[in-house]
Symmetry: C2
Subunit: 85 residues, 2 copies
């Protein structure tokens, strides 16, 4: 089965997010003063072939730990959808 994983990577809550601070300041300068906080992360769409659901979950976890995220400062969540032919 062909699966698309939508992976959302964000900095852990305790880690300072300078890019988010910069975006917040830019929005304030543009008079969007109602904005309180911005956090910037990564969004990845990965398409792969696996036999079943549990293989898909395992593969995503391994790829995230080994390449796609930095487990020291980042956390991630993901959704899996089956890509139909």
């Amino acid at each position: 089965m062909k699966v698309q994983a939508k992976i959302f990577v964000t900095l852990k809550g305790s880690v300072l997010d300078p890019q988010g601070v910069a975006v917040t300041k830019a929005l304030h300068a543009m008079k969007y003063e109602q904005v309180e906080d911005v956090r910037v992360g990564k969004y990845l769409e990965v398409v792969f072939d696996v036999e079943n659901d549990s293989q898909a979950h395992e593969l995503v976890a391994k790829m995230c730990d080994q390449l796609l995220t930095n487990p020291v400062i980042e956390k991630y969540t993901y959704e899996l959808v089956e890509v139909l032919a």
Copy 2:
């Protein structure tokens, strides 16, 4: 009401994604040969104060068009959740 917008920004389908190509190659080099395609985008969490839902949708659309995305090459989707006190 306090609202958190989760905004997913991706390159339009017809736009080459060199970062995604690089990640695909890196995964292949690490023996994840079942990976077919990777697209890399941005994920933003923006917290702001508005009066109602329609103001929230309007605000997100304006911020995305003016600062958070490049409408020429990127598209975005978003979800809104109310942040309870």
